[in-house]
């Protein structure tokens, strides 16, 4: 009796390890692959794919090959549906995603209920980690990091650059009035107040506006020195054009990602008009690679796999997040949710050693407390990194 039991368990154990060694480990890749957000959703997913390729080439995780199962989060409802499918039908060990904050918030809810880890590597909204979910981890910088960096940049670089004391600058904050613009503007105000800056006007507007001339006139008459705009593409173009045409030339304009980081915006506005405009965003490609080791290898791998240069920094940030997470999972024991959580909680990576520059350590609400944005400037039609000093490839150009 005892012997037969022992035999059975041994056989079962052997079978189990045998299947484990042969099987691949599945992870979900949940991004908007079609619809309005497809372009940057796909760009983000490419970063994850390159990370997985590298990990597999180096022997996989815990000796097993990583297989990505795609889920198309075309809208919030489908994000939920696809998260369910990945978890219950595909039996993925964890989900990686998701570029859009709204999709991430919806889909991570499903993962939380199923107790499956959800690794967010691109959505910036505060609510993603702000809900205190147990299985949601975020590697990328957030709306708050953006507000923080912009204020830091004004105090450390912009004010001295234009020859004024930070507290003497008149700052105007304008933002599109959905949750993205409103939350970034809120953080800008908060950090500006802490730094003792003088915010003379804060104004929201609908992103679908077709005229900003009144807003421009208002900023002009208040004598605003530094304009902070958080916006999508059309409203970025509209503001920069109308400000230029109304003869409003503030000492600095600082955009918050979105439309400000995109080449088509610069082409639409005109390289002359956008010259000197600053921008805070995820790490981009024109950056000092001493601060972002591995960036060149990533770009090469990207070009080889997709036959073109990266279309935005989204791929890079997803790549860095995924690479670190998969490396940690490799060192962990097993793929159960608890094992994955335990593995990623041990991550402790400092600044200046990843391809995105920022380090990784999960803090409160499983947010990466070392995530940071960078300051960029449009110079001669290109978006070059100018802040922080260690990552800069060119000095910030400011007119006194």
């Amino acid at each position: 009796m005892k012997l037969s039991l022992l035999l059975k368990t041994t056989v079962a154990a052997v079978l189990l390890t045998a299947t484990a060694a042969h099987a691949d480990v599945k992870f979900g890749a949940l991004y908007p692959f079609s619809g309005q957000l497809a372009l940057l959703g796909d760009e983000s997913a490419r970063g994850l794919e390159i990370a997985v390729d590298e990990v597999n080439a180096a022997g996989g995780v815990q000796g097993e090959k990583v297989v990505l199962v795609r889920g198309d989060a075309v809208d919030n409802n489908q994000a939920i549906g696809e998260a369910r499918r990945l978890i219950s039908r595909e039996k993925v060990a964890a989900i990686f995603g998701s570029y859009s904050s709204a999709r991430s918030i919806a889909a991570s809810q499903v993962a939380e209920l199923s107790g499956i880890p959800y690794f967010e590597m691109g959505a910036v909204a505060d609510e993603v980690t702000g809900r205190g979910l147990k299985f949601l981890y975020r590697t990328n910088p957030t709306a708050e990091d953006m507000g923080k960096l912009i204020v830091e940049m004004i105090v450390n670089k912009v004010a001295p650059g234009i020859g004024k004391k930070p507290e003497d600058l008149k700052i105007g904050i304008i933002h599109e009035d959905s949750s993205y613009g409103t939350s970034v503007a809120g953080h800008q105000k908060k950090y500006a107040a802490e730094a003792g800056l003088n915010v003379v006007s804060t104004q929201g507007y609908p992103a679908s506006t077709v005229d900003m001339s009144s807003l421009v006139l208002d900023l002009k008459q208040r004598g605003v020195d530094v304009v902070l705009q958080t916006s999508y593409q059309n409203d970025s173009v509209l503001f920069l054009q109308q400000a230029n045409e109304a003869g409003f030339k503030p000492a600095a304009i600082i955009g918050g990602g979105g439309g400000y980081s995109m080449q088509p915006t610069a082409d639409a506005v005109g390289h002359k008009v956008i010259d000197g405009v600053l921008d805070a965003d995820f790490t981009q490609f024109l950056v000092n690679t001493k601060y972002t080791p591995g960036l060149e290898t990533f770009v090469e791998a990207y070009k080889k796999k997709y036959g073109e240069a990266p279309r935005s920094g989204h791929s890079l940030n997803n790549y860095v997040g995924a690479k670190i997470l998969l490396d940690a999972i490799n060192k962990g024991k097993g793929f159960t949710p608890d094992a994955l959580v335990a593995a990623v909680n041990t991550i402790d990576i400092g600044e200046g050693v990843t391809a995105a520059g920022y380090g990784l350590k999960f803090g409160k609400n499983n947010q990466n407390e070392r995530a940071k944005m960078m300051g960029m400037q449009w110079q001669d039609g290109k978006l070059v990194t100018v802040y922080p000093e260690a990552a800069a490839v060119a000095p910030m150009r400011l007119a006194k």
Partner: protein, 295 residues
């Protein structure tokens, strides 16, 4: 004082912009009695056509009018013939409205498929040059839009009042059955009117494309205001749409400066509601016969 003049100029220019988009909408509404929710997408299609013509042939955007206006006429006429007309006899008029909503979604997604979500830039070709008139500064392209909107309104009025075709169109609008009894081919008039309405938005597209970057959702930016303007002016009234546009443009401009840009829409829609309460038929509206058959 200079500020007020500048705000006035901005408001008028914005009004011209709304007017040129709204004219076609109010024409279709007044005659065919279909609320065309795909109107903004017609504008979007026209803007992409302008973009393609200017980019590929290197012509001035205004020259694109030769291609865009006939193309939009065709799209409008086909929409009426293939989508609206089969639904004309439907038991419920609202079905046509839903059909145009469907068309709108289909066109947006088609544009996403063909052009992607990125913006397409029609070269400004000097239309973004600021022109200073006294203390006031406006763009040459804005003046072109303003002048064209006036010309379009007057032209349409003359056409409807003085030509045989125009009279036939008005007859159909007044009483479809009586018009049919008088020997007017009603179906043809509807197709023609829808085509003309769409052609008007084609004119708008050519003028707007050099000033605003084109994207698949650009139509939605204009169309809500166009609807407000049409209702404010009196449904189906072309001069009404023009005056309504100027009113909305001016409110937008002044409220944006004096009340704050976040309160702009509150001011616009507040005034809109107020006018509707006081004059339910709109500024220039008569009691409209909204039925397709005789009253």
């Amino acid at each position: 004082m200079d500020t007020i003049l500048q705000l006035l100029a901005n408001g008028l220019m914005l009004g011209g912009l709304f007017a040129i988009v709204a004219v076609g909408l109010t024409l279709i509404f007044g005659i065919v009695k279909v609320v065309n929710f795909a109107h903004g997408e017609f504008l979007m299609v026209g803007m992409y056509l302008t973009f393609l013509v200017t980019r590929m042939l290197g012509l001035h955007p205004f020259v694109a009018v030769i291609v865009v206006v006939p193309a939009l006429f065709l799209i409008g006429a086909l929409t009426q013939r293939l989508i609206i007309q089969p639904l004309m006899s439907a038991r419920d008029d609202h079905i046509q409205i839903f059909a145009t909503v469907g068309l709108s979604t289909a066109l947006i997604n088609l544009a996403l498929l063909v052009f992607g979500a990125d913006i397409a830039n029609t070269p400004a070709s000097g239309l973004r040059t600021p022109i200073e008139i006294g203390p006031v500064r406006v763009l040459s392209g804005q003046i072109a839009i303003f002048v064209a909107s006036i010309a379009l309104v007057i032209g349409l009025q003359l056409f409807l009042q003085n030509t045989a075709m125009g009279r036939a169109i008005r007859a159909v609008a007044q009483n479809r059955s009586a018009a049919q009894l008088m020997g007017i081919n009603v179906d043809r008039i509807y197709i023609l009117t829808f085509g003309i309405g769409a052609a008007c938005v084609g004119v708008a597209a050519v003028l707007i494309a050099p000033l605003y970057p084109t994207s698949p959702t650009i139509g939605t930016y204009f169309v809500l205001t166009a609807f407000v303007v049409v209702v404010l002016g009196g449904l189906g009234s072309i001069p009404g749409a023009f005056v309504g546009s100027l009113v909305i443009g001016l409110i937008d401009s002044f409220a944006g400066f004096y009340i704050g840009s976040d309160m702009r829409e509150v001011a616009v829609f507040g005034v809109f509601l107020l006018i509707l309460i006081l004059r339910p038929a709109g500024l220039f509206g008569k009691q409209l016969n909204l039925s397709h058959v005789s009253p």
